[in-house]
Structure formats: structure tokens, C-alpha cells
Subunit: 350 residues, 2 copies
Amino acid sequence: MSGISDVARLAGVSKSTASRALSGSGYVSEKTRAKVQKVAASLGYVPSTNAASLVTGRTRNVGVVIPYLHRWFFAEVLEGVQSALLERGLDLTLYDASPGTEARRRIFEDFLARKRFDGLIAVGLEPEDHELEQLLRIGRPVVSVVGSGPATTVIGIDDDDAARRATQHLIALGHRQIAFVGGGSSRWASVDRRRLTGYRSAMAEAGLTELASHIPSEVTLPGGYAAAVDLLGASPTRPTAIVAVCDEVAIGAIIAARRLGIRVPSDLSVVGIDDHEYAEMFALTTLRQIPREQGRAAVALLEAQLDDPASGPTQVASTARLIVRASTGPVDDRHSVMQSDPRPGIDHVM
Amino acid sequence: MSGISDVARLAGVSKSTASRALSGSGYVSEKTRAKVQKVAASLGYVPSTNAASLVTGRTRNVGVVIPYLHRWFFAEVLEGVQSALLERGLDLTLYDASPGTEARRRIFEDFLARKRFDGLIAVGLEPEDHELEQLLRIGRPVVSVVGSGPATTVIGIDDDDAARRATQHLIALGHRQIAFVGGGSSRWASVDRRRLTGYRSAMAEAGLTELASHIPSEVTLPGGYAAAVDLLGASPTRPTAIVAVCDEVAIGAIIAARRLGIRVPSDLSVVGIDDHEYAEMFALTTLRQIPREQGRAAVALLEAQLDDPASGPTQVASTARLIVRASTGPVDDRHSVMQSDPRPGIDHVM
């Protein structure tokens, strides 16, 4: 079996250079790295990473703590993280469990304490759960994607601003009876709470505080559907427009409206936040974020912290873009999405 | 800092017993394990897993190779695998990349060759890609969830049978113009191909071979929507019923039908395979599988192989159950889902 000495000799470099080139830690020119890797491949040499990590203290592994995979945002973030780690030759250890579960508790008490990673990416962490505190005690760099407080680097969108502009878009179309649907049905996610705050501030700025109302729902497509069936089916003074906490809730509301014979947008306007993969199919007006890019940015920021542990936490909040499609219209408009061409139309971006 | 000797002394066991209790490898009674873990926790002792794996040759880590996270089936399988691994104290290293991509190629050529896992779970692997061959060369146990051939243990449902019974359900309701929608738009997944075969055999058994037709589509909700818009909008001889390759395609077809003013089920019956989390919301008749359980079963079978490396591969194919909801009805029925109570009704299971 070939060893690192054989690789070094054939590549014409020192053993330590060959080792750095293959482990990915420490600086080696791209040209040298390529040459060493080619020689290693030709010899069938694979470095023992367990031994390497004992020596260097680097595991070449990043842990990802995430609450769900079955919601679009979280799956997209994870795919972004995965693709960025693969490009860097780093492994991804997944710690996926819903908040409040025994599995979640074990992740924080047992699994993370093993420190089998150089750093952590935490998605949707809520500071009040003391989980952030537990993470920081581990003594490895942490980057958060949405959710947690100023103690770590946090990536996300300006949620307050996104919901405010969604609401202002409806107010500009003449709507006054605007309900905010989603969040607060069981535990609050801080991102959902910030969106509710943004909606309320836009309503207040327009003198509509009295008309503001929050309809709690699970933050899922069926959750939005169930809340909208109750909201739209029962009330004699039903809203003319809905700001949904995210696109999944917005799409659930559109499906409920169609089932109830309520036309979108002539009888009801709906705006979401996300630009979900189904948004175009439902002609949904929304505030666009790109969670896959947030996942990739989290890896880049974690890498920067690993290279310079003295660097302090930063906050990255990008601005969501309003994408106007056919689910929103003037309050008295008589055209219906139900009667239009079902092929997705051309969007215009504002 | 406390060491393993301190833990052993305070727990009243030998060092090797304490080590086994904390590493999770080798047999220790539950009572002893609990006592040792309690003592270790009280001392703040965390075993060095890098050192442990060099000695034992066990990494306490399982690799999961998966093509997508944004499809329901795959996210559910992964959550099942994760929950079963957490219960066993095992880490999950994720290798997620779409077939045909450069990232996918690197996973198979570079990442898996490092062997940073005791065994692998491969989801949706297609034998013709030679990926299975590459996995087997690594020399670690492999369990497949759907997809690959008889060289590894495979878990899944009897896909042929599920699609055959979906088709027979429609034939029993009097349908003859039944189209199969989904799969074959780019690369074929073998699971989708087996479902098409099941549909064709049911059509043939009923003497309807001449009427059988396959409409290719991406195996996603928007893919089913786009295919159904073309199928239902254009054809003067449109089918009275659709067998969809999976629930996401079925739901896309139902959304398309509603947009086109085609009533489900009076004008069009739709049946899927999955029992997706949205199935109830769309009152979708479907063949139920439980991918989360398949993920958990994969971990149990992998564990059995790790304990007894001599055990040969096994094939586990469970039978999907027909769940009849309101998306299927007699070919000439005049009732429409559009007019019914939008609250999910009571299902009956056959």
C-alpha cells in the first residue's frame, strides 16, 4: 500500500506539503495541490482523516443544526450549505430534530458535546430556548441562518421590512381589510414575529391599526389552508387581502379560496414572503429571498471565522425583492385568476 | 480534566466497560450504560471519538447518499434515518447532490473514498449510473432505500403492484381513458419505470392496451401541473382519469384541472402514490407508503449488517395501502370536489 512518502516523492514535494495538499488545511498553491492530488489518485492513496484530525485539530467537518427538512426554506438552506461544503472538500454532519423533542435535547446535550466538527451552522435557532448558549459553550465557531441573537454571525433577510412592504403593496392597491395569517399557533419563531411586527407597523402608518388582525396558523401549506378556510368561510366581514407569513401559508390560503369559490385576486388578494418553487404556479405575488444563497453564505462566513478566530460576529440582512404576479390586484377589480390562462405568465419585478 | 479512569472508578466498573458504555460499541447492559453516562456527565467527561475510532475501527458515523431534499419522499426518508441514528448515538454525514452533477461525481470519487463512516445508506441510487459499483468497492455495508439492484439490501414498496392497483381502482369505477402521468422527462428513475409497468399491466389485463398512454413529466408538483395543463387543455379526447407516478404529480394535475374549470372527480379522477402530507388537503385517493419508516428500517438493517458482516443482502418490499378519498369517482358521476365541504373529510381505507 502506498503511503504519504510515495505521494510526496512522485509529486516532487516534501511530505508536509503533500500532507497539507491532501488534507486541505494549511496553504498550498492550487498548482501543487492539483499535482499532489493527481499523484495520490494514481497510487490509490487516501489519507487517514482520523489520524489527520488528531494531529491538526481540524476534522474537515461542519455540523448543521436544523429543525425541519420538510419545509421549503430549510431544505433549500441545507442544499446551499451542502453544495458549498462539497466545493471545499468538507463533510456535513446533520443534526435535524424539531424544537421541543427529546431528540433535539439529545443533540444539544450529547452529540454536539463530542465536537466532531470544526464549526457549526445553526438554522432557525431561537435564543429563548437556551440552545444558543449551549452552542457557544462548545467553543467552536457558530454561524446562524435566521433566528438567533447578536452573539453569533447571523444571515437572513430584513423580515420586518419584507412584511411591511408586502402590506404597503396591498394598501397601495386600495385594500384596508388586510389580515396577517400565520405563526403563533404553537411556539413563535422570531422570524415570524418580526414579520407580524412589520405588517403592524405598515397598518399603523396608514392609520389602519384598528383593522389589523393576526390569524394564527401552523407555518405550513396545510396550516395556511386550514386557517384560511376558517377565516374566509365563516366571517361575514372577511378581509379583501391577506399578508401571509410565508409562501407556503399564502399558497394554502389561495387553495382554500378556490375551494370556497372566492376569486383571486378580484375577491381576495394574497401576498407571501419567499418566492417558493410553487409561487409561479399559483401566480403568487411575494417578497423574494434565496435561502440556498443564505446557506452558501453561511459556509463562507464560517470559513472566514475558522481562518481568523479573532473576527467578531457580523449580521447580514439582505433586502427581499417584491415580485408582483397575479394574486394581488386592486380591491374592486373584477378579473379573476381562475379565468386567466393557467400557464405561468411573465412576472414583473419591482 | 477528568479521564476515563475517573469515570470508571466512580461508576464502579472497569475502564474497558466504561469505554464500551460511552462509545456505544460492544455490549454493556442498559443499567450499566446509564450509570456510566451519568457519572461521565457529572464529571463533564466527553470521550475523544477520533481516538476511539482509530482503536476500534468504528467511526460511530453513517453516511447517507441522497439525490434531493426538496421532494417529500426524500426529505421524509432522511428524517427517518436521522431519528433512528440519533436514538443509537450515531452521527449522520450527508452526501446530497443531484444525479449527473459535478458535485455528485465528487461525492463518489473523493468523499466516499475517505470512508469516514461505518456504513452507508443510499437513497434512490440507480444501478446504471455505476454508482452502486463504486459504493460496493469501498468495502463498507450499504443499505439502499428504493432504486438499486440485488447486490445490496434494498427497502421500498412493491411499486409495480401499487400502480397496478391504482389503475384497477379506476377501471373498477368504469374508466377506460386512463393516462399515466410522470417520469421519463429526463432520466428515468427505476421506481417510476416500475410504476409505469404496473399501470400498463393493469390496462392490458382489462383489454385496454390500445388506450394506455404515458405523459412524461418532471416528478414534481409543478411538473405534474405543466403536463396536465397540456394534456387536459389541448386534447379533444382527454382522459377521464389519471394515474400519477406520485402524489406531487397528482396534486399538480388536480391544481391544473381546477384552473381549467375541469371538476374533480366528476370530469376527471386522479389517483397518486405516496400519501403525501398535502394528500388530505386535496382529498387525493392514493396508495400509501411511509418513507419515514423506510428510513428507520434502513438504519436497523445496516446495524444488523455491521453486527454480522457475513449476513447477505435482503430485499424488503412492503405493500402500499389504497386510501380512497374524493379525487376518484365513477366515470359519469356529477358530483364535484369543488362544490363539497373544503374541510378534509373522513377517509376510508381499503
